[in-house]
């Protein structure tokens, strides 16, 4: 039986992991390669890197980070943030990432999903979705809208329709981030996660709101997610991945044993 995946997410800015609170007040919290190694040793099933380097000229720094990570850990990892073209994808994949995620670039040019899937395979195309609850309307039947620019720009896209469209275009996985839940530590957006995860036939990673192992349990059972993204709850030592995994395992969630 397939295990549910626990995936730490590292925001990386100019080669350093940062506490990326809404892209402001960035605080350096460590070396991404060392942190990736620590999570690898601790039983992370996968790692997500999100490049929040603002300056285009400094994006090569991220490629160097990816290269070092690939020589250090031997589990899959993905890279997102600022991926706009097929060349961006190729750079990241050749440097050793297993997957790339596209978010706002796919909103602006959906064909980038199919181009990436054709060139590199669906298995490495992750569609990142930032979602806000807006209430049901004719324009947004599911009540959830896709937003970009950290939630500041509404796109007019219905989240459910966009997820299905992304799957049709060749995305192999969806990373579903609730902007409403993000940073609250009050738990994942379960209604949204279940809505999307049961509608598509590709795996869904839930993101945003994790503060307690119970939240992961809820989103992996009630929310029907295939994987759960975690960040601050492990970055600052509140919990470790072995603690989270034993909490889940004791409650009947199939997880990969640590070590």
């Amino acid at each position: 039986m397939l295990s549910k995946r626990i995936i730490p997410c590292l925001d990386v800015r100019e080669g350093r992991t940062t506490k990326g609170v809404k892209f402001k007040n960035n605080v350096d919290i460590g070396d991404p390669v060392e942190m990736a190694l620590m999570y690898y040793e601790n039983g992370a099933d996968e790692i997500v890197f999100y490049d929040i380097t603002a300056s285009f000229e400094k994006r090569d720094i991220m490629i160097e980070v990816v290269r070092k990570v690939a020589e250090t850990i031997f589990i899959p990892f993905s890279v997102g943030g600022g991926i706009r073209t097929l060349d961006d994808m190729r750079d990241v994949l050749l440097a050793g990432a297993e997957k790339v995620s596209v978010n706002s670039a796919a909103v602006k040019h959906p064909e980038i999903i199919s181009q990436g899937a054709d060139a590199f395979g669906s298995q490495c195309m992750v569609l990142g979705m930032d979602v806000k609850h807006v209430g049901k309307s004719t324009a947004i039947p599911s009540g959830y809208e896709i937003v970009i620019n950290g939630g500041r720009t509404y796109t007019g896209l219905d989240a459910l329709a966009w997820a299905l469209k992304g799957q049709e275009l060749g995305a192999g996985e969806i990373c579903l981030n609730s902007i409403d839940a993000d940073g609250t530590k009050d738990g994942y957006e379960l209604t949204l996660t279940e809505l999307i995860s049961t509608a598509v036939n590709i795996p869904v990673i839930a993101s945003g709101g994790a503060g307690h192992p119970k939240h992961l349990h809820d989103v992996l059972t009630t929310g029907r997610a295939d994987a759960a993204l975690i960040a601050s709850m492990v970055h600052y030592g509140a919990y470790t991945i072995p603690e989270i995994k034993s909490y889940l395992g004791e409650r009947g969630v199939k997880i990969r044993p640590v070590g």
Partner: protein, 209 residues
């Protein structure tokens, strides 16, 4: 020296990095002479069976792989490499290498046939394998060890005794196949943490004769 066959099928560097990490000399190559003189051969790959077969034939690597198998040197298939060792793939009904009798089957077809619903495709993530019998390449493996899979098709050899291990995902499917000097995994040992690296290490020391 281990030759990792390069036929434009995905990121082969990850396989090379994993071998290098455990101190096993290796080279990514499409040079038939290098493959012929290598002690062992790894045949990886991600992507579609059809385009992989076109590349293999164009580079003459179909014959090099067949020669490697016949020579008795250890050969390891990984993921797509494992599937196209077989006679054909249900993926667009692609004729494959035919180095082993059998075909690559689609989860979608098998699920439909057996009335299984609600399982996502691809089978993506970590899962266990159950060995049918001891095998030197899997020495030291614990039953609870898990391996990283990402695939929509699975290998299905005609001969049951060529199934080395199986995995459960809706159905019980062959996740490791092999015969004599060939061992082929559907999962990615190079992305499967320490249990995966142990398999690569075991392979590097495997002497099937």
């Amino acid at each position: 020296m281990i030759a990792i066959i390069d036929y434009d099928a995905g990121n082969l560097a990850s396989v090379s990095r994993a071998f290098s990490h455990i101190g096993v000399p290796n080279i990514i190559t499409n040079d038939i002479n290098v493959i012929e003189s290598a002690e062992k051969v790894v045949f990886p790959g991600v992507g579609a069976a059809g385009s992989a077969m076109i590349s293999l034939k164009r580079l003459g690597l179909d014959k090099a792989l067949s020669a490697a198998l016949n020579s008795g040197k250890p050969v390891m298939g990984i993921c797509l490499g494992t599937q196209i060792i077989l006679r054909s793939s249900q993926e667009n009904q692609t004729p494959c290498l035919g180095l082993m009798a059998g075909c690559a089957r689609a989860f979608s077809e098998s699920f439909k046939f057996q009335g299984i619903t609600g399982l996502k495709i691809p089978h993506m993530g970590w899962n266990r394998i159950s060995l049918r019998a001891d095998h030197p390449v899997f020495a030291g493996m614990r039953p609870e060890d898990e391996f990283y899979f990402v695939h929509s098709f699975y290998p299905s050899p005609d001969h049951a005794d060529q199934v080395i291990a199986t995995t459960e995902y809706g159905i019980e499917f062959p996740s490791v196949i092999g015969v004599k000097n060939l061992v082929a995994t559907q999962f990615h040992p190079e992305k499967s943490g320490k249990p995966g690296l142990r398999i690569l290490k075991n392979f590097s020391g495997w002497n099937p004769c």
